[in-house]
Each structure stands twice: as structure tokens, then as C-alpha cells.
């Protein structure tokens, strides 16, 4: 359990949020061109990093907006929060 600094509402308890998993997985631009392997990669394969990870969160019980955070998954420390569409911070 930790606090998340929602870029729209400020600091709230993590239980108000819904985790959206790994960030920056781009939806295929040409879905019809994709092979089964590429679909598997897009849909299922995840880095599942132990350490600093970029991920998406949704303030489900608040403003309901999506945004990104950078979090160390080994100790749940949040390093940065940034809005959708913004460039991820370089660590």
C-alpha cells in the first residue's frame, strides 16, 4: 500500500486507483498485417520488471483519468508521475 500523486487530484491512497499494467505498449498501427507471434507479443508478453518500471494507472475512484507512473516494483517507491502523451522521464 502506498500513496499515488494523481496529476489531476493530488496525493491519494493507492486503493482509489486501478493499475493498468506496463506502459508504452503501442497498439499495432496495421492490425491486419500482424502475425500470430506479433499479436501474442502485443497482447500477452510482458517485461514484468523487478525494479524500475513504467506503468499506467487509472484514478478509478476519483477523476477517472489515466496517467503514467514510474515505480520501483521491488520496494513500491514511486519515482515519477507523468500525464498520458507526455514523454517518459529519463531515469
Amino acid at each position: 500500500m502506498f500513496l499515488i500523486n494523481c496529476p489531476f487530484c493530488g496525493e491519494r491512497e493507492q486503493s482509489e486507483f486501478k493499475a493498468g499494467g506496463e506502459a508504452h505498449i503501442e497498439r499495432p498501427k496495421q492490425p491486419t498485417e500482424l502475425s500470430d507471434d506479433e499479436w501474442a507479443e502485443f497482447l500477452f508478453m510482458r517485461k514484468n520488471i523487478k525494479g524500475v518500471q513504467f506503468e499506467r494507472w487509472n484514478h478509478a475512484h476519483g477523476c477517472r483519468k489515466w496517467f503514467n507512473i514510474v515505480r520501483d516494483t521491488s520496494d513500491d517507491q514511486i519515482k515519477a508521475v507523468y500525464k498520458m502523451g507526455e514523454k517518459p522521464p529519463v531515469k
Binding site: 491512497e13 499494467g21 520496494d75
Partner: protein
């Protein structure tokens, strides 16, 4: 050859104040090379090594474990064993394990305290009722014992359940698998370790894998904190840390690692003689032989390797427990902990070869791996020894995420994630 444990050995050792028991397993330094290395000294890993030695005649095997054996999820689960899964592939897999459980203590000469006290799954709404009835039929078609109970029968089987129809999630019925139950989780790891050690398996603790060396598409060995160890076959059974190992060779797995929590109460006299699970309100409870209530909570929403979960998850579970069992309202909780579980998108495990020759993965057991320990070890050993899956784990390959032939047990298996 180890001396058998028996009433006579117990009496004999009592005379020397139990100070001269033979060590159950050695603590060797790693050799330079092994035929096969198992990464991960939990129940599944130790069972894999045991069956490799026993059934596939491999003698030069090592199990490397970064901590101590059974110190990960093997020692952190709620010890529930059942096989009432919906799909044919899962039923085959989990019932294979359940059959081994039934004679495991005798086979290992180690009391794993397997207790077939039954597992009951509750239905709280009409869709639950339909789903559980469907699963009961599916189980019986697969030769797995299952019965559907109405509310009165649920109450009769477990009298402390609140079956009032006025509660928020009333009990409308449930299923019962009588062959299901619990076992002592530490004993499973120790029993397999002792058995494997006896057949010459090296169990190397405090030895963390730092890298996997490969030559082109073939594995050559592992880099560890105790140096390089050569091996042609490497079986990875690292649970929540499977992705960490996979990333070392540039493989991506369809896994997300999340904290799963459990807690136990102070010990009390026997009050619940079965295991009761509820998917809808997410609470399951049984009582250990020490008298503690063993309560399983849910997983957190987010990826984390921190081995601690959120407080609100525990709070939600205890709310549900209190509504179902008002008698527990004054119980105090003694301990709470978290384990890191590796969850697959279809909530089914992976016991599979990989694109790298000699590298095998047994992972993705998510929240329910303990029950499968003997079967998982047996089938993974078969897969490693023959470089081909057994027919019981053929469906649980990595390629299913490409072909789309998933074994979708999310919610279908009375399993609460």
C-alpha cells in the same frame, strides 16, 4: 541410504533427546557440471528434481535456491489442495497431482499431513449457482468427485456458516469435493528434499542465479553467486521471479507478478473441520492442526516484488469472513504475510519447453500452485527428461499464447484471483 522414519526411530532418538537425528539433506557446494539444474528450491522445484532422479534415472542433478528451501511461496500459501477445475486439460493436470498426494506420505516416508477434509465452494448469486452446477457436471464427466449442495446441506456440512438469506451475499448453495483438503506445506518441501538428496541430488541453498549462459540457441549453464555451473538442461521453477530469470536470456513471458496475502489467527480449539472458499466475496478459510484459522486474501492489482500487500485487501477479506462466520468476530489475527505470485493471462500454468534448447519453464501457477506440487514436479521432470511434454501438460505450453488455444480458468475454476 537413509534410515526410515518410523515409530522405532522416534523412540530410539528420544533416548538421545532428539539430538542425533541424521540430517535430512546435505548442504553441498556446487559441482562444476550437472546433467540438469533446477532453478528454484520450492516444492515444485524439489519435486521436479525428485522425479527426475526417481523416474528418469538422472543422478547428476542440482537444485539451486537463492534463499532457503521452501522459504518462498511454498511456505506462504494456504495449503489448499483440490482438483475441481472446469476445463478438461486443467482437470487432468490437477487430478494427477491429487492422486499423487493420496499416497505421498508413504512414498516419501515423510508425513506431509495430507488431510482430505473436503473443500467447499460457495455460491452467493444465481450466476454462481449456475456456474458451480456446470462445474460439478464437468468435474464428474472427468472422473473428479464433486457434489452440489443446497443451502441446508451447506449448513449441515459446516454449521458455523451464516446461511441467513438477509445478509449482503447470502449463501445459495455450494459445491463439495470430498477428496480435496490440505497438507503441511513445509513438510512437502522437506520430504521432497530428503527424498531427492537420498538419490544424490545436490540441494544448493543461498545460491542466486545471476545469468544464464548460452551458445546460440542452446543453454550452457548458469552464473550464480557461487560461480558458474555447467548444465545441458536447465529447468526454471522460480514462481514470482520467473520473468526475472527469463529476462536474463531475453525471453518475455506472459506473466505479471503480484503480491498475494494470507493471514492466520490466534490458535483456538477445533471449530471448522473443512476448507470453505467463496469466490464472489473473496474469502477462504480453514483451520490448521495448530488451531489457527488460515485465511487467504486476494492479490493486489499492481505488479510488485515487495512480498507485502495492501491493507485494504486484507480488510475486504476479513469483512467477508465476518459476515459469513459471525462466530469469528472476536478472533485476533496473529500474523499476515505476502508472497509474489506469477499470474498468466488465462490463469493456467506454463510447463513448457522454450525457444532455447535445454531451457524449460514451469511457471504461471498464480494463486494456486501449492495443490499441484507433486503433479507439477512429475510432469516437469518428464518434459525435461524427454524434451517433450507429457500428454497431461501438453496443453500448458508457451505456444498457446501465440496459437490462441488458451486454458481459460479465470473464474471458471472456483478460483478466486
Amino acid at each position: 541410504m537413509k534410515n526410515n522414519y518410523s515409530i522405532f526411530s522416534l523412540i530410539k532418538n528420544a533416548f538421545s533427546y532428539h539430538e542425533n537425528w541424521e540430517k535430512a539433506w546435505k548442504d553441498p557446494e556446487p559441482k562444476k557440471e550437472y546433467e540438469a539444474i533446477i532453478v528454484g528450491g520450492g516444492g515444485h522445484g524439489l519435486a521436479t528434481a525428485y522425479y527426475l532422479a526417481k523416474k528418469h534415472n538422472m543422478k547428476n542433478i542440482a537444485v539451486v535456491e537463492k534463499g532457503w528451501i521452501g522459504g518462498g511461496n511454498t511456505g506462504r500459501n494456504t495449503t489448499i489442495i483440490r482438483s475441481n477445475y472446469l476445463w478438461d486439460a486443467s482437470a487432468g493436470l490437477y487430478d494427477h497431482a491429487l492422486k499423487i498426494w493420496e499416497s505421498l506420505s508413504q512414498e516419501l516416508n515423510y508425513n506431509v499431513m495430507f488431510s482430505q477434509r473436503g473443500v467447499m465452494n460457495l455460491a452467493h448469486n444465481l450466476q454462481d449457482v449456475r456456474d458451480l452446477k456446470r462445474r460439478t457436471h464437468a468435474n464428474r464427466l472427468n472422473g473428479i468427485d464433486a457434489v452440489y449442495l443446497n443451502t441446508e446441506e451447506v449448513k449441515k456440512f459446516c454449521p458455523i456458516i451464516n446461511t441467513s438469506q438477509d445478509i449482503r451475499y447470502p449463501v445459495l448453495g455450494g459445491t463439495l469435493q470430498r477428496r480435496a483438503g490440505t497438507a503441511r506445506h513445509d513438510a512437502v518441501a522437506w520430504g521432497y528434499a530428503r527424498g531427492a538428496d537420498e538419490m544424490g541430488v545436490d540441494i544448493i541453498q543461498n545460491c542466486e542465479v545471476k545469468g544464464i549462459k548460452r551458445n546460440g540457441d542452446t543453454v550452457e549453464g548458469i552464473e550464480t553467486t557461487k560461480g558458474f555451473i555447467k548444465a545441458k538442461k536447465i529447468g526454471v521453477v522460480a514462481a514470482g521471479h520467473s520473468s526475472v530469470i527469463a529476462n536474463m536470456v531475453g525471453l518475455k513471458l506472459p506473466l505479471e507478478s503480484k503480491p498475494l496475502q494470507a493471514l492466520v489467527s490466534e490458535p483456538v480449539k477445533p471449530i471448522i473441520d473443512t476448507v470453505v472458499m467463496s469466490n464472489a466475496v473473496h474469502a477462504y478459510v480453514s483451520q490448521s492442526d495448530k488451531g489457527e484459522l488460515v485465511i487467504g486474501a486476494g492479490t493486489d492489482d499492481y505488479i510488485s516484488y515487495s512480498q507485502k500487500g495492501s491493507h485494504d485487501i486484507v480488510e475486504g477479506t476479513l469483512n467477508a469472513i465476518l459476515e459469513l462466520y459471525p462466530i469469528f468476530s472476536r478472533m485476533r489475527m496473529l500474523r499476515q504475510w505476502g508472497g509474489i505470485v506469477d499470474i498468466c493471462p488465462d490463469a493456467s500454468p506454463i510447463i513448457s519447453k522454450t525457444s532455447i534448447k535445454g531451457l524449460y519453464f514451469n511457471c504461471g501457477w498464480g494463486t494456486g500452485g501449492f495443490k499441484a506440487t507433486p503433479g507439477s514436479g512429475d510432469l516437469f521432470a518428464h518434459t525435461i527428461a524427454n524434451d517433450e511434454p507429457h500428454k497431461l501438460n501438453a496443453a500448458f505450453n508457451l505456444n498457446r499464447f501465440v496459437s490462441g488455444d488458451l486454458v481459460d480458468e479465470h473464474g471458471a475454476a472456483a478460483v478466486a484471483h
